[in-house]
């Protein structure tokens, strides 16, 4: 089956374009905007890990190694589209326009972190695996029923494909031709469980056949392929042709979360060699160099900008007002029930707070 679903690639690990038909489409501007986002989110990811180590945020899920999948797919969206990320796609959410301060607040246990900037249709990071897949199908169907050209993208991992919600959500979307892209980041592990124990199929793309929708398997570390294939799938969605399943084959270098120790279940040497060979940023760097577009000063600028932006977000996050216990009660229903009113009042009286 895997030979029916070869991994599609536009740029190989050496930064050489192997699908010449894309040569014209890949402009310097486009490539540079990709590079900037890749660097930005990697720097954020590393910083977040160190914040967690310092106890300045809670458990954190890093994505280093998966940046091309997140950047390429997020940049393919139009700004009025919907995004349904999981706990690992804050890179994509950031690129799509989420607030970095809010992303940090999320990882610091604050609901405020779930609120996207005005006008941005980003769902809170999905925690129960695969449950966001039916949501994306429904939100996309709603767009279709309203007669817009907006689409939705749902992210999920390889492990998520085992859940019933993966199956039910895609089946639903396929039947009603909802404008949605199911974007799988196959990083080959669900925490400690390797893909061979997760499924008997060699690819995730082939699961699309069950729903008679296109299934595409791509090199998730090649930002060009990710971008152009997502764009195509979104285009199909907007034209009423229904959903697409994209399998972006990738790898996380580090731990599942900062609470995880990958040495328990896999040889970290693989991560090391992948870092050298198939890294998404290095690869684009090689292309930029091949094209003579790589400019150290420009890279330093990008990095400096990103560093500043990240520091600012951290400052804002840390200056954020402390959690207000009233908020536990204020958002259960539009109008609080008597239980909530009574409990809130009693608790706030007890802690000497003021009912807000």
């Amino acid at each position: 089956m895997d030979n029916q679903f070869p991994i599609q690639q536009i740029m190989d690990p050496n930064g050489i374009i192997v699908s010449p038909e894309y040569k014209e489409k890949i402009t310097a501007d486009l490539a540079k905007s990709f590079y900037r986002q890749l660097v930005r989110i990697r720097m954020f990811d590393r910083k977040a890990i160190s914040l967690q180590r310092q106890g300045r945020i809670g458990t954190y899920a890093p994505f280093e190694g998966q940046e091309a999948s997140q950047v390429g797919s997020a940049l393919a969206l139009q700004s009025s589209d919907w995004m349904f990320p999981t706990y690992r796609e804050h890179g994509a959410a950031f690129v799509f326009g989420h607030s970095l301060r809010n992303i940090l607040l999320f990882w610091n246990g604050r609901n405020e972190g779930c609120i996207p900037p005005a006008g941005k249709k980003i769902f809170p990071p999905g925690i129960p695996i695969a449950t966001q897949i039916p949501h994306a199908a429904g939100a996309a169907l709603a767009e279709k029923m309203k007669g817009t050209k907006n689409a939705a993208i749902a992210y999920f991992g390889d492990g998520a494909t085992s859940e019933g919600d993966f199956h039910e959500g895609i089946n639903f979307a396929s039947v009603c031709k909802a404008p949605v892209v199911f974007f799988n980041q196959n990083n080959q592990y669900a925490i400690s469980v390797p893909i061979e124990k997760q499924m008997n199929s060699k690819t995730i793309a082939q699961k699309a056949i069950a729903y008679d929708i296109p299934g595409i398997r791509i090199d998730g570390n090649d930002v060009f392929t990710v971008y152009f294939e997502t764009l195509k799938a979104l285009e199909r969605a907007r034209c009423g042709k229904g959903p697409t399943l994209i399998e972006a084959v990738t790898w996380r270098y580090g731990a599942h979360t900062t609470a995880d120790d990958p040495a328990k279940y896999r040889d970290q040497a693989a991560s090391k060699s992948r870092r050298m060979e198939t890294d998404p940023i290095l690869r684009l760097e090689r292309w930029l160099k091949n094209e003579g577009l790589y400019d150290e000063a420009w890279v330093r600028d990008i990095e400096a900008d990103a560093a500043e932006e990240i520091e600012e977000a951290i400052t804002e996050m840390e200056a954020f007002p402390p959690a207000d216990p009233a908020d536990i009660f204020n958002h259960v229903f539009a109008e609080p029930t008597w239980q909530i009113r009574e409990q809130k009042e009693e608790y706030l009286r007890l802690v000497g707070g003021v009912s807000t």
């Binding site: 449950t131 039916p134 008597w338």
Partner: protein, 331 residues
């Protein structure tokens, strides 16, 4: 209610159909979703004729996947629609339990009101119609324990339509339980057009000074009959129809129990963890010193709802209710 309102004689299921029809006409965001609700009009005919009238986009047959279409309904609700989802029988809601528990009820909280889920889930519940297993569950308590969703349950055609419209208009998720054995058991006058029964308010069905009998849904006719029969023994029951199971109408309970000092709670669900215990808690918290006897709970047993050959034994009946009423009187 204005006296000029026209009414029509309806069964409970017709009142539901009429309520759906009213809201489909009234608000274009309303969409019905569920298994067999289209051409077939629902296995109980709750949606009869509606697909013909409003089209396949407004009245959608879904694939057989409760998690899938409840999840999709959440996505639609967040994105501007008002989904009214039919679960064919309450016993088939369990595959969607995760979607309801982790998303429908929490999206408002999670996003501090940025995303909300104005969705109604309708589900026939209860035993007594000789249906196969699992079709007869009365598991409201696994939802009333879940913050973020309200649970309502009408016992008569008038309330059925009014509560349904109120549920659809409510900005939060609502589980709307339908007493399947009462679907066609009685008819009454139901107003045409739009009206609402306030969610969270119970109703005094009979006044009485001796014992407060609390029930709802499919148990109401039986509770009312038992109360009626107790008059022969000189016992005046005050019968309350809760109508909303979360948030329960605390005031109506407190007021009545403070008058009678004696309580009998009747429900189909299992005793342990049943809503009867929520009523006990309300009495404990509001009316402790007024109690003249321990409250009695007449409920389904702490055993799975049995096959229908056994269901008459399982379901609370007048005999058990009267026994409990005598017990609280004689304490």
């Amino acid at each position: 209610m204005s006296t000029a309102v026209r009414t029509k004689t309806m069964t409970l299921i017709q009142a539901i159909n009429d309520g759906l029809d009213t809201m489909l006409a009234d608000r274009k965001e309303v969409v019905l979703m569920g298994e067999d609700i289209g051409k077939n009009g629902g296995v109980f005919r709750a949606t009869d004729g509606l697909q013909g009238k409003y089209g396949e986009n407004r009245v959608m047959d879904t694939p057989l996947s409760e998690a899938g279409f409840v999840g999709a309904g959440i996505g639609m609700a967040v994105n501007g629609f008002l989904p009214v989802i039919e679960i064919q029988f309450l016993g088939f809601i369990y595959p969607a339990y995760e979607q309801i528990m982790t998303h429908a009820t929490r999206l408002r909280m999670r996003t501090m009101g940025h995303y909300t889920v104005p969705m109604v889930i309708r589900a026939p519940y209860g035993a007594g119609v000789r249906a196969p297993e699992i079709h007869c569950d009365s598991t409201e308590a696994i939802f009333t324990h879940m913050p973020g969703i309200k649970v309502v349950c009408p016992s008569n055609p008038y309330d059925a339509k009014g509560l349904l419209i109120a549920a659809i208009e409510d900005p939060d998720p609502i589980l709307y339980l339908e007493p399947m054995r009462s679907y066609r058991s009685t008819r009454e006058e139901v107003p045409e057009g739009k009206y609402m029964i306030e969610i969270g308010k119970g109703k005094k069905m009979i006044e009485g000074d001796d014992v407060t009998v609390i029930s709802w849904g499919a148990m109401m006719p039986i509770a009312l009959k038992a109360a009626e029969e107790m008059k022969i023994e000189g016992i005046q029951c005050e019968v309350i129809d809760l109508r909303t199971l979360f948030p329960i109408d605390k005031d109506i309970i407190a007021e009545s129990v403070q008058k009678t000092g004696r309580t009998v709670i009747v429900h189909e669900a299992h005793a342990t963890g049943g809503i009867g215990n929520d009523v006990l808690a309300i009495i404990n918290d509001t009316s402790f010193l007024y109690q003249k006897a321990p409250a009695e709970r007449v409920t389904g047993f702490d055993a799975p709802v049995p096959y229908f050959g056994f269901e008459d034994h399982y379901l609370p009946n007048e005999t058990r209710i009267k026994h409990a009423i005598r017990k609280v009187m004689m304490f």
